[in-house]
Assembly symmetry: C2
Homo-oligomer: 266 residues x 2
């Protein structure tokens, strides 16, 4: 099978996941969709996020016959994944389970922090999964509503971003967790600033890295790995291809070319 | 005629306009729609904003037979108003012209500042209208992409908001304008912080106040003023009615009750 792997996010954040996927799986074809006409997802309701996620999944299956879908957005993973897994025949990989599996494999794991959007934290998806996977763990979850917006604006390393991080992460200051799950795909680009604030002792868990490892295993197990020699990455957005390419470069780590507009609704 | 006046915005910001409308027109009925499922509008393309604005206008005309529509969003006013005025039979009042008319009526007006979203500033709608209305005026426009998001999060008066304002408004520091147009309906709730930064000499122009005066004149001139004794205000949102009511109170200045969900697309 030479079909593509579908990857979607509300906007730019999922590019940190795509970057890891492309690194780990150099022979695969990827089709990335950023829902920039409706970004951000973080503060919106479960009903709305489920509707948006399914519109995108339907579109990618119909137009690209994707063999696997990566929900490269923690908000959509937290709110829409159970519904999507009931509906779609193809495997749907989210961000929550891979991060929780990594936390459960740590040596020191009695004290785990989670940061994410309002929707992710309110869903308690991480908390429930961590409590089920790690015995006698203390989980502290903090929503950081503005962080994804700062990242979408490209403010990833200035005084204001550092002040916002200090404000949101202050509950972790006096008692740093053993590990902090970066529960939003926008946060890896803030890793340096988060590391500066939280100190060297805390392990930062990055959903992109963990999800890429899971996709690698799934492709092997289901014998759907590509037999091509070279990687191919296509980009779709629901609004303003030019801006996506320009700002996205910083998230993807290389040039983004040929971004096309996708029309989800008829 | 006892039909309602329609008012819409991407989210909460338009409530600052509705507040002025309700104050100036105490006998009218208002139907407010906040497009919270797709907020914010500020960074999205003209095509997308025109589509969203027309979906909302079509919906309000079809379901409420509104007699006049107020586009209580500067981004939509800057990008969609010309198209909407060509299409709709009812009067469509935007935010740009009322602000420009006020600036043109000032005594000191050689140096006008405009702040707004990326979409509003990039459209140059204010700049063009000011240059046409005020002779030998110097216009300085600055986009403040994150301010509306801060306001939607309810961060209206903390150190981070003051730092963001200082960052965006720094071009005005050394040479304060005669007047500063608050070219986004989210900004009036930041008036105190903006005033602190820019000083006492600059006149702040608030689109809600100016638009309410224009609507008042229009209703009189077209003989469509309500003959009822009491005001009525209804609220619709495209996502999460509970959150809108809770945060919106601060913008509208009084309790917001009975917010209902509107489904724009079938």
């Amino acid at each position: 099978m030479e079909n593509s792997i579908g990857v979607f996010d509300s906007g730019l954040g999922g590019l940190t996941v795509l970057k890891e996927l492309a690194r780990v799986l150099p022979s695969e074809r990827f089709i990335y969709l950023g829902d920039t006409a409706r970004v951000p997802y973080g503060g919106k309701s479960a009903e709305t996020i489920i509707r948006y996620s399914m519109e995108i999944a339907n579109y990618l299956i119909r137009t690209h016959d994707i063999k696997l879908l990566v929900v490269a957005c923690n908000t959509a993973s937290s709110l829409a994944l159970p519904t999507m897994r009931r509906i779609y025949k193809i495997p749907v990989v989210g961000m929550v389970d891979p991060c929780v599996r990594r936390a459960a494999a740590l040596r020191r794991k009695s004290n785990i922090g989670v940061i994410g959007t309002l929707g992710t934290i309110r869903s308690a998806a991480y908390e429930k999964a961590l409590l089920a996977a790690v015995s006698s763990v203390k989980v502290r979850s903090v929503s950081c509503p503005l962080l994804a917006s700062l990242v979408e604006e490209g403010w990833t390393d200035n005084d204001i971003t550092r002040a916002v991080i200090a404000e949101y992460l202050s509950p972790f200051r006096s008692d740093p967790p053993d590990a902090l799950i970066l529960g939003c795909t926008h946060y890896p680009v803030l890793k340096k600033a988060i590391r500066e604030f939280i100190g060297e002792e805390t392990i930062l868990i990055d959903s992109g890295e963990e999800a890429a490892a899971v996709v690698d295993i799934l492709l092997s197990e289901t014998m759907t790995r590509s037999k091509k020699k070279s990687r191919k990455v296509e980009f779709l957005v629901t609004d303003d291809p030019e801006r996506f390419g320009r700002i996205g470069k910083r998230f993807f780590g290389r040039e983004i070319r040929g971004v096309r507009l996708a029309t989800l609704q008829e």
